[in-house]
């Protein structure tokens, strides 16, 4: 069965682009979230195999969402997706429990690489 992935980003644009990259490689989109709060709720409800997480979002940013998700599931596989200029926050996110990060603009190969690695494929 295909791995199920939750996409968290406040821009429909980004969610669409990430979904295109992932479905193109045969992954299933478990769901989408447009804020940190939604990300945490959807994680609990959908139990996805992997989460892609934006950092700058309204109603709880990505880093607090990572902390909240790791608190309920220490093994959660979270891939941070951030725009340039947020390096400091990426470090913080990794300390909070995120497993890897990719930087926008996304290169599909780079995104898929990180996803495969995290899923142990």
């Amino acid at each position: 069965m295909a791995h199920r992935i939750l996409i968290c980003d406040d821009a429909i644009f980004m969610r669409t682009m990430i979904a295109d990259i992932l479905t193109g490689a045969g992954y299933e989109i478990a769901g989408e979230a447009e804020s940190g709060l939604q990300a945490v709720e959807r994680y609990k409800a959908l139990k996805p195999d992997l989460v892609t997480m934006d950092i700058v979002m309204p109603d709880m940013g990505g880093i607090d969402a990572v902390k909240a998700i790791i608190a309920v599931d220490p093994d959660a596989k979270i891939l941070m997706c951030s725009a340039m200029g947020q390096q400091q926050l990426v470090v913080e996110a990794v300390q909070a429990g995120a497993k890897d990060f990719v930087v926008k603009p996304f290169q599909p190969a780079r995104v898929l690489d990180a996803v495969k690695r995290l899923l142990g494929e």
Binding site: D10, A11, I12, F13, M14, T16, M17, A19, D20, D54, V56, M57, P58, A83, M84, G85, K104, P105, F106
Partner: protein, 502 residues
Amino acid sequence: MTDPRRARYVALFAAESRSLLASAQRSLSNWLDAPAEQGPAEEIFRALHTIKGMSASLGFDDLTAQVHEAETVLAEVRSGEKVADHRWLSSLEEILDRIAAGAEQVIAAEHADDGDRKNDGGGRKAQVVRVDLDRLDGLLEDLGALVTARQELERHAMRDGFSPMARSAVAMSRRLDALQDRIVHVRLAPLGEVLERLPSLVRDLARQLGKDVTVDISGEDLEVDRAILALLPEPLMHLLRNAVDHGIEAASERTAAGKRPTGRITVRARRERDSVVVELADDGRGIDREAVARRAAGKGLLEEGVALTDDGLLAILAKPGFSTSDKVSEISGRGVGLDTVVARLHDVGASLALTTVPGRGTSFSLRLPTRLGIVRALVASIGEERYVMPLTHVNELVAWEPGESRQEGGRTVIEVRGETLPVVDLRRLLQYRGGAAPERRPAVIFEAHGERIALLADQVQGQVDAVIQPMDRPVGLPRWITGATVLDDGHPALLLDLASVV
């Protein structure tokens, strides 16, 4: 770019970046009201950051760099390094404007690249299609003809009783209702498309005039017909110019009057029955009634010593060529006059009202119809001539006999259940010269500008869905005739705008 996917990304980018920039501009306008706040900085940052991510993903490198730079400027204040004062906020405003322009440029360039390539259609999201307004107008015209035909069919069906054909006619009518609703909906657009541009406009005006003004906008989600929306910028600009130039006082004058030094303009839209009302209010000095009255008297427009009501004041101000300002400033001197504004509003069935309080400010209400084209209307006649009037203004019908009216304060009035209402005779209004009026006549009680008025007709024939056709206005046509329609028997009737009859 031949990737059909890219077209979809660009469309999403266009929609999201426009909406994010509009919200950033709103945040900035709140920030200008309270420069010590940190919230707006975060909101603007989030918007810019999201735009940057999208822009970078599409390879819009110049725009990405531009947004990145704006983030850096914003960082100075977010980190507490710098304090957001007015000058800094103004420069941020310019930066946002430049980003908006930059975004429009790359979107336009992409569309030019695109040619007429078809959308891939396989999107997971709702697709947005741009349609030429002319085509929508064509659709409305066809629908109009259908609605007229349907009324004729319904008339025959009614005589026919419950035959299969009559039942089919009723079923078709219902589908037509639904279709009519859908077409009217397709034409709707949010007021925000016009209102969101106002704050930066007012700030520009204020800067030029050396005044300090903040703007508050609300109700931008309300929708009106696109054709009406397209007419709005001009009157709003006119009223805003006047508010900033003549309404809002200089900071020193405001302080001396015990007001806060920064002037405030609010633009609030709200729904009222079938209309949307846009209220534009300033907290300035108000309009000087006496000065207007004196000037009007000097021009022979008004008798000496007459006190002006708010409606009277508006009527005078809307007279062609009337202006109270002795020195026409560069700002308000340009553009169209209030007379033109009022006339254009009337043309689409909209109206304007005014309230002003000395020292407290002035408020203009624009009442806009939400939909064009088809109105539920009452058919009334004088002799053989028939007229239609939109039901939105009509409250009730009462029977009237000559003995029931009396003179009071120079006008004819009647009592309707204890309420004294002014009477307007449609015969006199139309200068009708045909046969005599019937003894007993119906009075259409309608509401205009907060007042109830009785309009006497010879006969009332019922209700119709009137399909309103715009018409070339012959010279001398009264302004309260705003359109024409074809009734179900094929005869034409003129549309009366009840709000401007009085």
